[in-house]
Symmetry: none
Subunit: 77 residues, 2 copies
DNA sequence: CTGCATTTGTGCGTATGTATG
DNA sequence: ACATACATACGCACAAATGCA
């Protein structure tokens, strides 16, 4: 599991975005599948909800994922 | 009725937790009895559902209450 | 049995405040 | 002054369980 380096030059939200993007592109999380919830990602990577939300928003803006309130965040086709 | 101070230093969810905990410990709501529903607590204290849910979760983690989906939240014995 | 309302639990999006470098 | 990071707070949506007409 890739980990977050809070002392790296790269912002935490950017590191998390890159990690999740990599997992999607490598097929670790296939299209149509749900990403871990924000709450889970907070615990797994040890970051705040705002950081997770910024990472997910970036992936949404890139078209890699699609979030549905009440459901979760899906990997796009 | 204790009220919530949105400008106090203490977070709203913490204030609500403390108010409810006090009512339970003083026997205002006896063991086995139902707490007001989340919807009711929202209206009574003028806070959002997320805030009420966080307070109830805290009380659950403390073992003071026990929630049953579809029923409500009971004061523990 | 079939709906419908209520309630809890989980989830997301947005906004705001505080602290730090 | 600015970006980052965290915590709080609100609002809303959806699923499952419960109870009742």
């Amino acid at each position: 599991m890739e980990e977050i380096d809070h002392h790296a030059g790269e912002p935490v939200w950017s590191q998390l975005t890159r990690i999740l993007r990599g997992q999607i592109e490598r097929g670790v999380i296939p299209p149509g599948k749900l990403l871990p919830s924000i709450s889970t990602l907070m615990q797994v990577y040890g970051v705040s909800d705002g950081t997770v939300k910024r990472a997910l928003k970036t992936l949404r803006d890139e078209g890699l994922v699609s979030s549905v309130p009440g459901r979760g965040t899906y990997v796009s086709q």
